[in-house]
Symmetry: C2
Subunit: 690 residues, 2 copies
Amino acid sequence: MTNTITIVAFSMGVLSLLVAVYLYRWVVRQDAGTERAQEVAAWIRDGAQSYLRRLYSALTLVAVALGVVIAIVFSFDIEHIGLETVAVNPTKGLMMAVAFLGGAICSAAAGYMGMTVAVAANVRSATAAREGIRPAFKVAFYAGAVMGLAMVGLAVIGMSLIYMLTQDPEIILGFSFGASALALLAKAGGGIYTKAADIAADLVGKIEIGIPEDDPRNPAVVADNVGDNVGDVAGMGADIFDSYVASTVATMLLGQSLFSGELQFRYILFPLLLCTLGIAASLIGIQFVRVGRNGKPGTALNLGTVVTCLIFGGFAAAAVFLFDYNPGVLWATLTGLGTGVLIGFTSDYFTSEGYKPVNETARVSSSGAAINIITGFSYGLISIVPSILGIVAATLLSYYLAEMAGISGIYGVSISAVGMLSVSGMIVSSDAYGPIVDNARGIAEMAGMEQEVIDTTDVLDAAGNTAKAITKGFAISAAALTVLALFAAYAEVVGARGMELVISLREPLVIAGVLLGAVTPPFFGALTMLSVTHNAFDMIEEVRRQFRENPGILAGTETPDYARCVGLAAQGALSSLVLPAFLAVVLPLLVGFLLGPEALGGFLGGSIFTGVIFALLMANAGGMWDNAKKFIETGQYGGPGSDAHKAAVVGDTVGDPFKDTAGPSLNTLITVMSLVSSLFAPVIAAVHLF
Amino acid sequence: MTNTITIVAFSMGVLSLLVAVYLYRWVVRQDAGTERAQEVAAWIRDGAQSYLRRLYSALTLVAVALGVVIAIVFSFDIEHIGLETVAVNPTKGLMMAVAFLGGAICSAAAGYMGMTVAVAANVRSATAAREGIRPAFKVAFYAGAVMGLAMVGLAVIGMSLIYMLTQDPEIILGFSFGASALALLAKAGGGIYTKAADIAADLVGKIEIGIPEDDPRNPAVVADNVGDNVGDVAGMGADIFDSYVASTVATMLLGQSLFSGELQFRYILFPLLLCTLGIAASLIGIQFVRVGRNGKPGTALNLGTVVTCLIFGGFAAAAVFLFDYNPGVLWATLTGLGTGVLIGFTSDYFTSEGYKPVNETARVSSSGAAINIITGFSYGLISIVPSILGIVAATLLSYYLAEMAGISGIYGVSISAVGMLSVSGMIVSSDAYGPIVDNARGIAEMAGMEQEVIDTTDVLDAAGNTAKAITKGFAISAAALTVLALFAAYAEVVGARGMELVISLREPLVIAGVLLGAVTPPFFGALTMLSVTHNAFDMIEEVRRQFRENPGILAGTETPDYARCVGLAAQGALSSLVLPAFLAVVLPLLVGFLLGPEALGGFLGGSIFTGVIFALLMANAGGMWDNAKKFIETGQYGGPGSDAHKAAVVGDTVGDPFKDTAGPSLNTLITVMSLVSSLFAPVIAAVHLF
């Protein structure tokens, strides 16, 4: 049976990829619109591609260097490190390094595909918007689906292939680490890029010069639109890709160490089976995402998510009974799935107009920016509570339901993470839709399309924001459960080396580890936010210089030097990555080798707790400020140009690096730190100072 | 010997109190100035006293009710609860309730004394400022010393008296809980009061009407100045009072459970001995705080702190060798003391002009409020790192130095907290100086004194801000170590009931507890901040109403109705306390009784981690924004009235509830939650659902 599962999983991955390619070809066949629109789109496309090429060529060096280190470290048979003779096993080292590079390449490829289709779809969706909401929505959503399906397809192909070849989940850990390391750099880099460009474009364009958003005379406008693609599309896709793989591999590792005999293979492969079913459910669910004649795009996206979840739940139930799995794993799967959806909709409450948090934040804006910030920040803190309650409920329920069914509770918690993430194909599809329609709106404006078209893209955009809020809540809670699973896997890996791991909060080394871990996510977030303002200042200087030295730009007679701003944003983002990346990889190793595996356990625990809290705070507060501003722009509390609006713009600008730079990187940060710890756990268990 | 220590401690407490009374009488004998100045001072005094009376009469009810609950619960001999026969021991219940009320009364009395002298000293310091810095500084500092000495005196009298009468540290736990519960309400209430009044006074006065700060025509100006007293004087004093008592009692409890035989009493009483020596050192150190002819008040305050620490270190060394204590406790004491001072000075780096964080935050302000907020918030996040490293170093050093000297490491950690706090008499004296000179400045302005006098009070005020920053860093790190000690004490108390407490991060119930605990401080902080804006809005309406209905006020021909604003602020603050207070007391009990003592251990751990992180973030970011604004007001980056200044004012207003409402309450919140858990630990160990 086990062979069957890997083969079916591999085939499903290939199918998912084929559908993605088919949809991609469909998207690029659509009308690319007027010459002017194509010109504008080409600027964005070229900027995005040149950034990704620069990013990937820089990362190639890092990845190869890390690959060599991994190859060397894992060529030693670590259980026998010490003063005894050291056994050498170069095959394992080589396999691990190849898996690592494979993970990085798959993650990069998913991001690249998603972005390629996004920069083709934006102009086509804008062009289709002339015909109405329906065709424009279709182009944007199918383009989003390319990203979603490519991502899950590549992930499942990679994992099942490695398992077929090596039968060793630890090698898949290398794959997962490669994927996450790349995701971290892609997300942090993209987040810094997009917000530095955004802030610079706004500050000089809107405030100093007084030209509207997306005005083609602004030299930073292309960089701003490129940023939406490299930050949101490539970023969020990489985020879910990395949780998706990490939760699966954590569960496979737990399956290996918690079960034995014939059961072992069955439970190692169960998470892969869930992924397969999730892809099947997503392929069906995507068909349900259609906007009727007067339909609303938001409803269509939500319907798709709900249908996919229901189908997946049915599939999972059928599989558990058909293949005679313990019913505990079904309860755990459904717990995870249900919690993910619930937490997603909770995020919606805190970030959508029509509910108290956004409305209150908008209302108090008439008393100035400070009150807007205090109120939004406070509601952001409160928004953490329901999500944490959801994570607590999912942890306890999946644990005890599994235990009551007679199966390991820890395995149940891990399965709940997989259950939550198995519908990622659909979730990412709705999410990637957001930046595409956001870009479509920008292109419609820059290419001077009719007001009617811009209105249509506005409607599409609003639905994208809701989808984005739901995905963020989903992504953060999924990451939390994934990291709890990785945490358990880490303890099991250390335990397998004959060392009983007691991560007790009564031990001073563990407390030291927790405190150090707890401070890492806020520190990391601060570094990325300071990079945003630092890079924004460089770009502000450049934009001012262009306006000053070339008065033809503002007169509209000359084209600004977009490429220079694009290059500046790319270079700034890349050089800002060095310290954060170093922290993510080196800090856990430092704690582990110096303070020992139990302190490292505490470190991981601490980083999860504050990582999740700051990620939720920043994502939700950012979304809240954004939508409070938009709510005022609909004419409330004085409407655009009022004092309330000016205050809300300040809140929105503060929220930008919160929600699009620091916040989203934190999930991946804690995943990378957990993965590097699990990967090096055997070495750390053998060699440490305390 | 044990009897000697309690008698010496008691006598030292009485001496401290007598010196406080002597200084108080000296302060009130000073010249109270012109009739106008006395009139202004009387408004502030009456407002502050009426608030405290309302607060205390409301709290009397709460305290008596809680006292009755405590009397009943502790009348049962809890070890035998269950299905067996229940032994009844009403004497213990009564003693516990009396100790609880005693703690609340001592804490209230220290706050009341501090505030009474502050509202007498402010006008006298302003009047003395006509003669120069020296006499004005002397009045303000000696008034601050009244607060500092009264506080440590009352604490030591209370603890030594209870120990003399009962020989049972658990009863002192009741005293500590009473002190902390009152401190939490005093601080949260005072913090909400002061910032609601401050924001309302600024928004209507400075921004809508355009009259200067502290203008007597502003109906909210008295409430604003009252707020400085009830928030800063009574608040910060209560904060350190509660850590001071809690760290001592935690160490006494650990001494009881970790030692036996003759050693037991010696180590139960060692923390009380340290307190005694700390008072002696403070009494001497206070003599060194003098401003020379051209001296700087900041230098004088710092010199006093350093001298007190050195003297205390010498005393502690002498006592350890004379009374033949294990040298490990000396290393732990000195580790704590050194770390406290170092962390205090680190806070100074992050919140003083002349260093990068404040200068950068000021510099970027010319690009608008949003960039100011992002930059200040980011540096605030970074400021957490050195303090946490200090706490980690203090924990590990005091643990391992104690272990190496052959004494319990946990006891060492607990002693390091006592060592840090033993010089509180001096620390609180410098701290209470701050709001007094701040008020002196306000009175000088409102009473129309000469510009020269206002300049002198400005110099005094700047030194107060630095002292305040140092105290805040000190208070937060001391609270962190205290709560770690309480955490250990909690585990020991549960352990003493025959239940081995394993607070392992591998247990789902513990993880659930940690997550719930971690989310409590940010939630609590958010509630207090939302109360600030809510109450500020009510007062804004009242101020607008007075200006509208009585045009004579703005013309300066009629006195505004100050009392109405004062009453509104008091009522708003009191009614905002209900939910936060409920959370602090009931949430730990709920977690304990429902999820069990191990989950409660996790809950306490989680609340410490995020409590300390958010407290540091809020205190430091708030101080940074405040001083960035002040730096611009010295003429940098365009000076007062420039765009940079407007942006910095937004940052300062956001920072106000951060640093004066939410941040300072979090220390006390985690102390109260740890105390209520330790107190009810035996009951929870006997009765819980999971």
